[in-house]
Amino acid sequence: MIIPVLTLIIMLIVGAVVLGFIAVSAMFLIWWERKVSAHIQTRYGPMRVGWHGALQSVADVIKLLLKENITPSGVDRLSWWLAPFFAVVPVVMVFVCIPFGNIFGIELIARDLNIGILYIMALTSICVLGIFMAGWGSNNKYSLLGGMRSAAQIVSYEIPLVLAMVTAVMFAGSLSMQKIVEAQKGLWFVFQPNMAIAFAIFIIAGTAEVNRTPFDIPEAESELVAGFHTEYSGMKFAMFFLGEYTNMFVISALAATLFLGGWSGPFLPPVIWFLIKTYGLVTFMMWIRWTLPRVRVDQLMGFAWKVLTPVSFANLIVAGWILMK
């Protein structure tokens, strides 16, 4: 009887730590994005609250907590209320098998599921439901258009994204996240030609998957106000923001794990390496956002189906051929 209670307590602590990490990471990333965008545009960005505006996100969260939560008349109540849950809960569940490395001999992974990568693929594709429910439930034309576009975009880019992951699985020969990292002990996957192509595909499709510029058509401010979350206010809006930024972290963490050797690296502790790689990739995505203009819908869909999908299939077959020999 003692051992299950102990296990349960450990599980609860792990869960609480991960939730805390998610909240702090999302708040940090929102501040970081504002600073990065500001400096790219030769501005300062937030400067007033705390050192260089470091507490700006805290102030924003308090502000959003105190905001009135408007429910427009005519919304589809069930999907309206469920949408924020669908935007956040799957992203939280992904953290079960994100390998953060280890520190003082403790493995920083909630549970190394033996189907890790498949589990992550399944959960990341649920996010589209939240976005579409928000778009449909709002009973607003902009939201509906944003939700429709988003659903079409996310399912289209999911094919190349998952194919790039499958290429990594072929090289690693395992679905477990820890084994994939261990398979890269000698040489990071990204230094092999096939995997370099897969990495490029993964970054492009991942950027589209989290609806960021140049693929931010679902929320194109100049035509759709804010897309699927136009009608949301207060804490529900904050939940969509949290989901979006955590999704960005998850995509970058996956890219770091599958292609850049995960937590392995010299001198520094593994967890530091993992965070450097992940936040480096997040910063790269921000850099792209503030550099490139938005693409058109037809260009977007055409690129996914006519370029990325055939290229990733060809890449997969060539990788298989090389590994067979």
Binding site: E68, N69, V89, K141, A152, V169, G234, W305, G320
Partner: protein
């Protein structure tokens, strides 16, 4: 095994509690002052014309159909990708044929114009 999926269930519950908790806290703190104007949907300040649950473009259905085909295919690819080195050459050729059939389907959809947007 049980512990593995115990964590999955735990994170599911924690995620739901996290969102519900945040919404509940704001429930106690936030003001409430609804008015008919405030509760109408946003349409650039104009009075709303018609509902938004209308028929939408058929292309979305086509994209969804093609997606389902490829997604199921990838599901079959994953177990093969894990152990294809042990399975050997025959399995590799079989998988190439399998992918080839689907690529032919993609080319067909492309030629039919299912991937065009205008």
């Amino acid at each position: 095994m049980i512990a593995d999926y115990g964590y999955v269930g735990l994170f599911l519950v924690f995620g739901i509690i996290f969102v519900a908790g945040a919404l509940a806290v704001s429930w106690f703190l936030r003001p409430r002052a609804p008015s008919p104007e405030k509760n109408s949907c946003y349409e650039c300040g104009e009075v709303i014309k018609g509902g938004s649950w209308i028929q939408f473009n058929v292309r979305y259905y086509l994209i969804a159909l093609i997606f389902v085909v490829f997604d199921v295919e990838i599901l079959f690819l994953i177990p093969w990708a894990v152990i294809f080195r042990e399975l050997g050459f025959v399995a590799f050729v079989e998988m190439v044929v399998f992918i080839g059939v689907l690529i032919a389907g993609l080319v067909y959809a492309w030629k039919k114009g299912a991937l065009e947007w205008q």
